[in-house]
Amino acid sequence: MADKEVTLMKGNEAIAHAAIRCGCDGYFGYPITPQSEVLETLAAEKPWETTGMVVLQAESEVASINMVYGGAATGKKVMTSSSSPGISLMQEGISYMAGAELPALIVNVSRGGPGLGTIQPSQADYFQTVKGGGHGDYRLITLAPASVQEMADFVDLAFELAFRYRNPAMILSDGAIGQMMEKVVLPPFKPRRTEEEIARECPWATTGRTGMRKPNIITSLELRSEEMEQNNLRIQAKYRVIEEKEVRYEEYMTEDAEYLIVAFGSAARIAKKVIAIAREQGIKVGLLRPITLWPFPTRKIAELGKKVKGILSLEINAGQMIEDIRLAVECNVPVKWYGRLGGIIPEPEEVVEEIKKMTR
């Protein structure tokens, strides 16, 4: 496939192609609907014959995430993908990686829960992703793509952020973005880093000790509480830097907006249609789409909150991000929630009705 060619593919396929192209060293995963095309595409593309990337179907999600831990400890660019129930199984490993400060990419093409739930799209893993999921005081850098193009683009970006901050990063997508096909221009090919490059860029990695170098130890365990507090403080300081520097969002028709929708991922796509319909009916609505769910665009929402009469948090869940929006605006403006549950995606017209209720 030529470098700049426009092609049509599913979001899940775009993740797989982008991983090969950005110089990913290894993928470890276990199939689950609606993300199985990631592993299927990798298997069909056979990158082990071209770039040398390892693609391995593990025996479970628990095994996958621990393989990712092992690969990341050696400074390799490694990833996994799954969907909600599978991501739940990975939480222990994710917490360990955050504690051991290991960079890796985890893709969640989420589906409706709780439990085994449904295979249809849902955004009900917001809390799990941005508030913890696993144990301990940690954060996941979280990117929320709203198109197939962003599925492709965010793979490289997520790796870049993960390595810059030595922290796992997640792409939080859903079945709609994973399963739909759209135009996409895949990122250009980047070669995998050589062992020398890894040793230079990741001096912390367990790349094999030579000469007098101090041994690198990758662990999240520290039984001395004083030391463990210092580890936590160092990690927290890193999180403050990420919150300062890495907030990403898209603003859409907010200049004259009297009402604001805050929505991410597929809900943000629906929001744009809602805005078109509402504006035809004379209601000035705008959209703030958080691209990073953590760090959350708190300041931007606070600023927009001062200009509008009301905010609608449009989420395909029972109302999770609304808590972060309310914290951002400190209750200075009414914030309402609308969403559908269990794999049902809200249709634009029903959201327009919610906006109308806010104007009354």
Binding site: L8, I119, Q120, E182, K183, R269, K272, K273, E347, P348
Partner: protein
């Protein structure tokens, strides 16, 4: 110009692949396209539907409340989507799968007996391309040339000898679609 279409029928009728070829044809004309399947545990014999949006502008929501055109290939699909056609929009149905025809008067209703024709001509495998031909007759969203280009691009080389049969099916569909 934006055209929002739902194609719905039984699994195995080629609903999803027809939508895919339509989307790919749009891509051949540099249009913006989105193909959103109602994916699920459905298999042959179950229901299947796909939303295809072909537009000159970036596509917002891949999920819609109403459609410019609904193509329904069985009774449950008709019952589900007749009410969701925009006033003035189009509803295309295959006579074979429908025993209670549509009743709305504020939309254009077209009938295409593609299933019967395909069986008669021993062309069951390209039944969906007949339907696509019918759609392109009433709404030339993309050109037939672009469809053929899309087929050349998406079909593996070993199946390229089937492209003329697909073209025949498209032309046949254009021929047999009738406004009711």
């Amino acid at each position: 110009m934006t055209h929002e279409i739902i194609i719905s029928g039984f699994g195995g009728q080629g609903v999803l692949s027809m939508g895919k070829i339509l989307a790919y044809s749009g891509l051949m004309e540099d249009k913006e396209v989105t193909w959103m399947p109602a994916y699920g545990p459905e298999q042959r014999g179950g229901t299947a539907n796909v939303t295809v949006i072909v537009s000159d502008d970036p596509v917002s929501s891949p999920i819609l409340s109403s459609y410019d055109t609904a193509i329904v290939l069985n009774q449950p699909s008709l019952e589900k989507f007749e009410s969701k056609v925009k006033p003035g929009g189009s509803l295309i149905y295959d006579g074979y799968g429908i025993n209670k025809p549509p009743t709305r008067k504020d939309i254009h209703v077209y009938r295409i007996d593609a299933m019967d024709k395909a069986a008669e001509m021993n062309m069951i495998k390209v039944f969906n391309m007949m339907i696509l031909g019918g759609l392109l007759k009433i709404h030339p969203i993309v050109s037939v040339e672009s469809v053929l280009k899309a087929l050349r691009k998406t079909l593996p080389e070993r199946h390229h000898h089937l492209i003329p049969m697909n073209e025949d099916a498209i032309r046949m569909g254009m021929d047999i679609i009738r406004e009711v």
